[in-house]
């Protein structure tokens, strides 16, 4: 089982969700995060002072999938979230040792 953690543009969450739904991956957690990568930040001006805001708003989408589905899921996410411009985000994959469903307490494989 793998955790796929994607950092994507905020306006791409719907498309990623739809792309994953087509693979019957329904469970996901979405968090507003701020990220910093190759994408340049912007300059904010407050009362004459300039600030460089380099942490830009992004959305983090986390899904846990069976090992066999991981490659397909990654491809779906990348295809859905890509614009080709700097700032499209990243996808990270982590091993999941165990997974439990709280409602039943059962361990999943």
């Amino acid at each position: 089982m793998k955790l796929i953690k994607s950092i994507v543009r905020p306006n791409k969450v719907d498309e990623v969700k739809d792309a994953l739904a087509r693979l019957n991956i329904a469970g996901m957690t979405v968090t507003e995060v701020r990220g910093h990568g190759k994408q340049k930040g912007h300059t904010a001006i407050y009362r004459g002072k300039e600030y460089n805001v380099s942490l830009l708003p992004k959305m983090e989408v986390e899904v846990v999938v069976a090992d066999a589905l991981a490659d397909e899921a990654i491809k779906a996410i990348v295809d859905a979230a890509r614009t080709g411009e700097i700032g499209d985000g990243r996808v990270f994959v982590f091993p999941v040792l165990e997974s439990y469903r709280i409602r039943t307490g059962e361990r999943e494989v």
């Binding site: 543009r9 905020p10 306006n11 969450v13 719907d14 979405v30 968090t31 507003e32 995060v33 701020r34 912007h42 300059t43 904010a44 001006i45 407050y46 600030y51 805001v53 942490l55 708003p57 411009e85």
Partner: protein
């Protein structure tokens, strides 16, 4: 000169001025957080640019003698707009300069109302250019026709506080602006939700508060008619809110907060042309009736591809039209001392009211279209696709509505 009248008009002017920041909250809460400041600025900026243009030229074109179609430049640059009551187009008992300022607040908010149709994608510079020119080319003549002794007034059309001049006018311009600027690139996406409904409620509450100045101030005196307009301004939106709640319950089983805020605005818009002309009891009927067309206009609009994002047409265009027509239905000379409507035996008044509304729609629609097309030759009307995606707060203003500690918190909350 009357001191009571002057005191009331000082307060009324401040009340109406507050409506523009109130509108900023109302509109600002309805958009996504990345566009909250831009949306609020679209209202606030009107206080500056439209306010100054009104003093320099708009006021004179709207409310000086001139001819049937437009005022003249005799009051331009505040020439002759002094501290005595002399020189105003209508008989007043307050300083002429105060009358000018009171009227300025109307022009400011009317221009700002249009912004609801084009939020989240219009380039700020193009918007600012548009409302500045619009306030002179569209608002001033229309105000002259209705309030400056122009041809609509001669025809016998009555508009107590600006149902036609303000709301139908803004609604028509909004329709055209939404059409010319085009829909948001993410129109139809499920994420186009209001980012702060509490701000929407705050805005609608402050609008109601300010609207007492708008309507009761339009009596231009601390008079019984001001009292009448004040009471109708309290009762009509109350009735709209009640009917809207039932419509919400009937349609979806839940009374929504955005619906309640919208209902209040629709009721206020509808009572505006009638405020000093109809009885308090009829104001309840007027407010109740006005809920229905706007409620369904919202639903129908959402099914179309016209991205009038914050429903200026449904709230102000439709609400203003219904209010103007119902003014011709409910008006009673025994109440207002001026004219009768349909129920009091003067059915022709409804037709005259309808003609005035139609005139406003056509003039405002056509002129707004021409203005936007002309501006688009010089300035792109839309923000770039990238800017729209990142959000207009950052790209148009270099600011964000909701900053986090040092702009640097790694994880923020939804």
């Amino acid at each position: 000169m009357n001191q009571a009248d002057t005191a009331w008009m000082l307060i009324s002017t401040a009340l109406v001025l507050l409506m523009t920041p109130a509108l900023a909250f109302f509109y600002g809460g309805l958009v996504r957080s990345k566009n909250a400041l831009n949306t609020m600025m679209m209202s606030f900026i009107s206080l500056g640019f439209v306010g100054v243009l009104w003093a320099l030229i708009g006021y004179s074109l709207a409310l000086s003698a001139g001819n049937n179609w437009i005022g003249d430049l005799s009051l331009g640059f505040l020439n002759g707009v002094g501290l005595d009551a002399a020189g105003a187009i209508v008989p007043i008992t307050i300083p002429h300069a105060l009358y000018m300022a009171f009227q300025a607040t109307f022009c400011i908010i009317t221009a700002a109302l249009i912004s609801g149709a084009i939020v989240e994608r219009m380039r700020f510079s193009a918007y600012l250019t548009f409302i500045s020119l619009w306030s002179v080319v569209v608002y001033a003549p229309l105000a002259h026709w209705v309030w400056g002794g122009g041809w609509l007034a001669d025809m016998g059309a009555w508009d107590f506080a600006g149902g036609t001049v303000v709301h139908v006018n803004a609604g028509a311009a909004a329709f055209v602006a939404a059409f010319v600027v085009g829909k948001r690139s993410e129109y139809r996406a499920s994420t186009l939700l209001p980012h702060s409904v509490p701000l929407v409620l705050l805005g609608s509450g402050l609008l109601w508060f300010g609207w007492f100045g708008f309507n009761a101030g339009s009596a231009l005196a601390a008079s019984p008619i001001a009292g009448l307009a004040f009471v109708t301004t309290m009762l009509a939106p109350a009735a709209t809110l009640v009917v809207w709640t039932f419509l919400d319950l009937w349609r979806s089983g839940k009374p929504t907060a955005v619906g309640a805020a919208t209902a209040i605005v629709v009721g206020l818009v509808a009572i505006t042309p009638a405020a000093g002309f109809i009885s308090p009891l009829n104001a309840i009927f007027l407010g109740a009736i006005a809920a229905v067309p706007s409620y369904f206009a919202l639903i129908i609009r959402a099914k179309t591809s016209l991205d009038d994002s914050l429903d200026v047409v449904a709230a102000h265009g439709v609400g203003g039209t219904v209010g103007a027509l119902l003014t011709g239905v409910f008006a009673e000379r025994s109440v207002n001392g001026v004219f009768d409507g349909l129920i009091a035996g003067n059915p022709g008044q409804v037709l005259i009211q309808g003609a005035a509304v139609l005139t406003a729609i056509v003039y405002s629609g056509v002129m707004s279209f021409i203005l936007l097309k002309a501006i688009s030759i010089v300035l792109p009307l839309r923000a770039t696709a990238d800017d729209e995606s990142v959000g207009l707060d950052i790209t148009q203003h270099g600011e964000e509505a909701y900053m986090h500690v040092g702009g640097a918190s790694a994880r923020t909350h939804l």
